[in-house]
């Protein structure tokens, strides 16, 4: 199978690692070979955080710039910062206002490279459900609901159910479903 490359970006504390874990676990269940790279340590304290996930036969854990099929970003600026990872024809999912995203000059670049994009206000969705720190699950739901990638919404939902800590399980699922709905793919 051709390697499918994901890059996930955001800020320390937004739950990038958990999001990566859900995608990786769901892919493994689908029978994909999984390789990923994470940020730990000093950079986690509020700084830019990036994690890489590769499904397929890759030996290395890092996605090379220009080769990511998907960029999922929990922060608008971090979405822009990590644009160099996206391959032509890739797709960008961002936690941002759908009307204002992306900025004009970025829009022109994405159109030129055939990169699709979708944005949702994941933080607002999470806050509305009383879970302000769960924007990661909202965006994950939004991505799943857009029908892309080898894992379907059901795979991701089951994985969230399986790996969420008990006290966050129901809340995580609620936020994920809200993201799913806002993508129009329940």
């Amino acid at each position: 199978m051709e390697t499918i490359n994901f890059v996930l970006s955001g800020l320390g504390g937004q739950g990038i690692l958990f999001m990566t874990k859900v995608l990786a676990q769901a892919a493994l269940k689908k029978g994909c070979r999984v390789m990923g790279a994470e940020t730990h340590g000093m950079a986690q304290r509020g700084g830019s955080v990036v994690s890489h996930l590769r499904l397929g036969d890759s030996k290395g854990s890092l996605v090379r710039t220009g080769t990511a099929h998907f960029l999922l970003s929990l922060d608008e600026s971090e979405a822009y910062r990590n644009l160099p990872f996206l391959a032509p024809g890739g797709a960008l999912y961002a936690n941002a206002g759908p009307r204002s995203f992306p900025r004009g000059e970025v829009r022109a670049y994405l159109e030129k490279k055939g990169i699709r994009w979708r944005a949702m206000e994941a933080t607002r969705a999470a806050v509305d459900l009383g879970a302000p720190l769960s924007s990661n699950l909202a965006l994950l739901g939004f991505f799943a609901g857009s029908g892309e990638g080898p894992m379907g919404p059901r795979d991701l939902e089951e994985t969230i159910e399986m790996i969420s800590p008990e006290r966050f399980r129901n809340q995580n699922l609620r936020v994920f479903r809200a993201g799913l709905e806002s993508a129009g793919g329940v």
């Binding site: 800020l11 320390g12 504390g13 990566t20 874990k21 990786a24 676990q25 493994l28 070979r33 999984v34 390789m35 990923g36 790279a37 994470e38 940020t39 730990h40 340590g41 000093m42 950079a43 986690q44 304290r45 509020g46 700084g47 830019s48 996930l53 890759s58 030996k59 290395g60 854990s61 890092l62 996605v63 090379r64 710039t65 220009g66 080769t67 600026s77 971090e78 822009y80 910062r81 644009l83 160099p84 996206l86 900025r103 000059e105 970025v106 670049y109 933080t123 806050v127 302000p132």
Partner: protein
């Protein structure tokens, strides 16, 4: 336990050690090594093993403890980050000579980048310096295999073995199929042999000779170790260019060659950089006109190849001498070398357009910062306010981020807050100047290597204020317990070692505890401490408040709802000297405002505002 599971690279190391029959496992946390011990504990619990685990007080202590177990015939390992191996190097150099009875593996995790370390040093060079074999994995799966292999080799050849996973192995995730784990039999049985175990210099010479013979035997084994040292040369064929690579760069270059369909470039993988498998490398070199060496963070294989005219790498200037060899960097290096040799270049990577685009967006710089509610932020605010003219020596941990508040001037190594404070003091006093110095060190760092420096300062009458930032955990590396808590690595009870008693035991007379959330109390204590410093000697303040991440509820038992009023005069003291992420300058309002979803309700900012504009809502 045969189903495939996703393992963190550090979990794969833990799995491999346990599969290799590790009976004693010690560690001091440090990125990127910190998760090895917790992952091992998870597996030990799941499989009901008897493996002994401990968070040791520092890396040297961890190595000595594991060494003793190996001297008693057990299989033991100790885990640390690469700069931790500096702390343990005294032990390592000697342990190499003494050798082992059982198995001893030192896991030392490198940090090319560096992402979370003070240097980009290469553990493989430490292995060469100490004369111990080193294994260099390229993936979690290989790290797992090598961890078990390292224990076996160590026992077979009676020599400590280093496993060197780099950060991209430690923090990679990969699906692995673990087999069943079982306890290794074999009771502790130390065979007294003072000539060896307590060797004098005369006998050390004999041991050195023995070590050299062991290394030659290990090298021969490595020559035939085709699972980790392998190449894809076709017999009889000559190549204009070949690649020799180890560790993560090997994985990266393999992927690039596969994507580019470059079967014309043979690759030799070196999984055992020392003792260097010279015959294997010679065979490869002989088939290639030129060779490109890809390794990190330093040059090691390149030195061993000893054929400067043929070899391209760091020494020849083809590979950057610092920084991580991420895929796009390796792509660029390989492409340049191919062009230089008149060979088919790689496909155009592009990317300049998008890099220029991103550059032009002027995105905000996201520097790491202390968490909202972090007690260290309150301490630094008070320190800076009480003694604006002091030199602020600090140390290694989250609190290095006191930089952002102008309250950290130095960070050298573990424990240097104290030793640099005494050094500054003496350097100024020599000139008749009483320079105020305020040192800050975390609780775990103090237990790690604070006491020797404190004893020295007391003994030599150095005068400064030492603030021990006691958040009751080792926060930066993932909330490992400290000796102060008396909770051990596996969650069982140990004896709590009181920070106050240790400090008093070092001969300090002024030892006071304060909650830094009470900014006023901390400032007046700092003033009182300075009077003691002037008249009597060193003063120690323990600023004690639980970490807001490790102890969510206890840290802020009654969250305060905070708001910023129109009294705000934009003096920006709260932003510049306090710098909580929940406070920001609102362009529209023309003053400071609050992001409620980031605020954790500690209420310290209310005490910080000189205009009283930050209030309880």
């Amino acid at each position: 336990m045969t189903k495939e599971e996703i393992f963190l690279g550090n979990g794969a190391v833990a799995l491999g050690l346990l599969e290799g029959g590790c009976q004693v496992l010690t560690s001091y946390p440090g990125t990127p090594s910190s998760e090895i011990l917790p992952e091992a504990i998870r597996l030990i619990r799941r499989e009901n093993l008897k493996t002994y685990v401990e968070w040791s007080t520092n890396e040297k202590v961890a190595l000595d403890n594991a060494f003793a177990a190996a001297a008693a015939g057990k299989r033991a390992a100790c885990c640390m980050k690469q700069v931790g191996l500096n702390v343990a190097s005294d032990s390592l150099m000697s342990a190499a000579y003494l050798g082992t009875t059982g198995g001893l593996v030192i896991v030392s995790c490198d940090d090319p980048g560096p992402h979370s370390s003070q240097t980009e040093q290469d553990t493989r060079l430490m292995a060469r310096l100490a004369k111990v074999p080193v294994l260099d994995p390229s993936s979690p799966e290989e790290a797992r295999q090598m961890a078990a292999l390292a224990l076996e080799l160590s026992e077979e050849f009676s020599v400590p073995v280093i496993l060197r996973p780099a950060i991209r192995v430690c923090h990679a995730r990969q699906g692995l199929s673990p087999g069943a784990l079982k306890d290794r039999e074999g009771p502790a049985s130390f065979q007294k042999d003072p000539l060896r175990w307590a060797a004098t210099p005369r006998y050390r010479l004999v041991l050195h000779g023995e070590l050299n013979r062991k290394l030659e035997a290990v090298r021969k084994r490595f020559e035939g170790l085709s699972s980790h040292n392998h190449h894809d040369l076709e017999a009889g064929r000559r190549y204009p260019l070949g690649i020799i690579a180890g560790g993560v760069p090997w994985a990266v270059v393999r992927d690039i060659l596969a994507e580019e369909g470059r079967g014309d470039l043979p690759v030799l993988k070196i999984g055992t950089p020392f003792p260097f498998p010279e015959e294997t490398a010679r065979l490869f070199m002989d088939a290639c006109d030129k060779v490109l060496v890809l390794e990190e963070p330093d040059a090691v294989i390149e030195y061993f190849l000893r054929d400067g005219g043929k070899v391209r790498g760091r020494l020849s200037g083809h590979v950057p001498p610092q920084g991580e060899l991420v895929p796009e960097v390796i792509h660029g290096i390989l492409d340049r070398v191919l062009r230089e040799d008149g060979l088919t270049p790689l496909s155009e990577p592009g990317g300049k357009e998008v890099r220029d685009l991103v550059m032009g967006l002027e995105l905000p710089v996201r520097k790491p910062t202390l968490c909202p509610g972090c007690p260290h932020r309150a301490s630094f605010f008070a320190i800076r306010k009480a003694w604006p003219k002091a030199i602020f020596t600090s140390d290694i941990g989250c609190y290095t981020l006191g930089l952002n508040q102008g309250a950290v001037d130095t960070c050298l190594d573990m424990g240097a807050a104290i030793t640099m404070a005494s050094g500054f003091y003496q350097a100024y006093r020599q000139d008749g100047v009483e320079q105020p110095v305020v040192a800050t060190i975390g609780d775990s760092t103090f237990y790690h290597s604070g006491t020797a420096g404190l004893l020295n300062a007391v003994y030599n009458d150095a005068r400064f204020i030492l603030v021990i930032l006691d958040n009751l955990t080792t926060a930066m590396t993932g909330m490992q317990p400290t000796p102060g808590l008396g909770i051990r690595a596996d969650g069982s009870r140990g004896k709590a070692v009181s920070l106050e008693r240790v400090v008093r035991g070092c001969g300090v007379d002024f030892v006071e505890v304060v909650d830094p959330y009470d900014v006023g109390a901390m400032i007046s204590l700092l003033k009182e401490a300075q009077a003691h410093v002037r008249d009597k000697g060193i003063a120690v303040i323990i600023a004690r408040h639980p970490c807001v991440i490790a102890y969510r509820e206890e840290a802020v038992p009654r969250p305060i709802r905070v708001t910023v009023t129109e009294e705000c005069k934009e003096c920006n003291i709260c932003l510049d000297r306090f710098g909580c992420p929940a406070l920001y300058h609102d362009e529209e309002l023309g003053r400071t405002a609050l992001k409620p979803h980031l605020c954790n309700g500690c209420g310290v900012c209310i005490q910080v505002c000189p205009k009283g504009a930050i209030v309880e809502a």
